[in-house]
């Protein structure tokens, strides 16, 4: 069963608190991604991970960090969350990030509200 699982689905935090968003996949995919989605902006790439401890900044990495200690797990961390980080966060995975026939699998998303 090919699946990307995100936890939690909904989260409310106060400004300044730390936030941990977790993502898991059961397909042994090498590459994993964190995107955020905001109205009118589509999906914006925060970080991409090519394998364990092989992470690369995306387009909007400021204010975020990631951790990938196992191939099947990719975490997004917000140290001292800000109100402008209120968004819906999507995790995705793919077998290889540069394959010519790459299909991304997405999780359901985590809706984060920072008050």
């Amino acid at each position: 069963d090919m699946k990307v699982t995100q936890m939690p689905r909904y989260l409310i935090k106060r400004m300044g608190e730390n936030v941990l968003l977790e993502c898991g996949q059961d397909m042994s995919h090498e590459t994993m991604y964190w995107y955020r989605q905001d109205p009118g902006l589509g999906l914006q790439l925060i970080y991409i991970s090519y394998d364990v401890d092989s992470n690369s900044e995306g387009d909007i990495p400021k204010g975020y960090r990631v951790s990938r200690k196992k191939r099947e797990h990719f975490s997004l961390i917000l140290d001292s969350a800000k109100t402008n980080q209120t968004s819906v966060y999507f995790c995705a995975s793919s077998l290889l990030g540069t394959s010519s026939n790459e299909r991304l699998f997405f999780g359901h998303g985590t809706k984060l509200s920072v008050l």
């Binding site: 991604y33 819906v88 990030g97 540069t98 991304l104 359901h108």
Partner: protein, 110 residues
């Protein structure tokens, strides 16, 4: 500048009508993909279509790479087609990433 531009931003269809969504992109080496986002938020891959025409069900994707455009045609629309459609291109060379357009929100009414 914007690497992927989609139009229209939103669209309302009467059930049974056809629709064409447009995607224009800034690079000729695109490995373009179309995605569908359910109203509840879940994203699914529809097509990997770097060039030419592909079909699945009532959906047809046509990409003309040298003109830097792709279209997604929905025929005989149904209410279950409602959602947001994104096109995306791979950018950044070997260590690439998928760059999304802003999406077209489709609402099909019965």
């Amino acid at each position: 500048g914007q690497q992927v531009q989609q139009s229209p931003a939103s669209l309302v269809l009467q059930e049974g009508e056809n629709a064409e969504l447009q995607c224009n992109f800034s690079s000729t080496a695109t490995r373009l993909q179309w995605f569908y986002q359910h109203p509840g938020g879940r994203l699914v891959s529809l097509f990997y279509n770097p060039s030419g025409t592909k079909h699945t069900g009532r959906l047809t994707s046509t990409t003309v790479t040298n003109e830097r455009r792709s279209s997604l045609h929905i025929s005989s629309s149904q209410t279950t087609d409602s959602g947001t459609y994104f096109c995306a291109i791979w950018t950044g060379g070997l260590s690439g990433k998928l760059t999304f357009g802003e999406g077209t929100q489709v609402t099909v009414i019965s």
